[in-house]
Symmetry: C2
Subunit: 102 residues, 2 copies
DNA sequence: TCCATGTATTCGTCTATCCGAATACATACA
DNA sequence: TGTATGTATTCGGATAGACGAATACATGGA
C-alpha cells in the first residue's frame, strides 16, 4: 500500500468525526484556547484536547501558547474549503435521494 | 448534534479507508464490475463488495447490472476532485514538515 | 430445472476509536 | 516554593470497523 495513500486516508479519517469537523469550523470562525472551545461547543475539556491532538498530528491546526493557555487555530483555510465542498456534494446528493444512509 | 454534520462526518469517514480511496480512483479511471476491481486492486472479492456497499450507501458510486455482473461507477467526478484537493493539501503539508504523523 | 458465473452477506475475531473520570503536567505569579 | 489556572495524558470499558472464511443469493443459459 502506497504511503501517500495511507496518509491520504489518514487525513480523511481525521475528518470522519463530526466533533472534529465542528472544532475545525469553530477555529475557522476564530482561534480559541482549549477551554473556550470546550465551553463554546459544550464538550468536556479532555475530549476537546484529544480531538485537537488528532488534528494537530495531521497539521490541520497549529498552536500558540499564551502563558498557561494554548490557543489553537486553523493551519490553512484550504481545509475549510475542502469541507465546504464536501458539504455541497452532500447537499446535491440529498437533493437527488433523500434516503441516504437510511 | 446537527444531522447534516453527522452526514458530513459520515462522508469523510467513508473516505477514511485507504482501500476505498483506491477503489474510487480505480472506478474513476473506468467503471468496472466487482471481480475486475478485485483483480485489479488485488483484494478478495468480498472485501471489495463490502467497501463498495459503504460507498454506495453514501451515494458515491452507482451500479448497473449486466446479467449476473454488476458494474460500478463513480456517481460524480466531484468526489474525485475533492480527493485531489486533499492530496494537494497533504503534499503542501509534507513540504512544510516531513514528520507528519510520526 | 440445473448449473455456471458473479455478487452480497453472515459469522467470529481482532483491532482501532471514543468516551468519562481521574490525574499528571505546564506556566505564571505571589 | 507554593498555588491557581489551563492543558494533556492515562486508564478501563464500550462501541464500531475491518478482515478471512464460508456461504447465501441473483442472473442467464443449457
Amino acid at each position: 500500500m502506497d504511503e501517500l495513500r495511507l496518509l491520504h486516508g489518514n487525513i480523511c479519517q481525521a475528518l470522519g468525526d463530526p466533533k472534529r469537523i465542528q472544532i475545525l469550523y469553530a477555529l475557522h470562525d476564530e482561534p480559541r484556547h482549549v477551554s473556550a472551545l470546550a465551553c463554546a461547543l459544550d464538550m468536556p475539556q479532555p475530549t476537546v484536547s484529544r480531538h485537537l491532538r488528532v488534528l494537530r498530528q495531521r497539521a490541520m491546526v497549529k498552536t500558540e501558547r499564551y502563558g498557561p493557555a494554548v490557543v489553537y487555530s486553523i493551519t490553512s483555510p484550504k481545509i475549510i474549503a475542502i469541507l465546504d465542498e464536501m458539504r455541497n456534494f452532500l447537499r446535491q446528493t440529498l437533493e437527488r435521494q433523500s434516503n441516504i444512509l437510511s
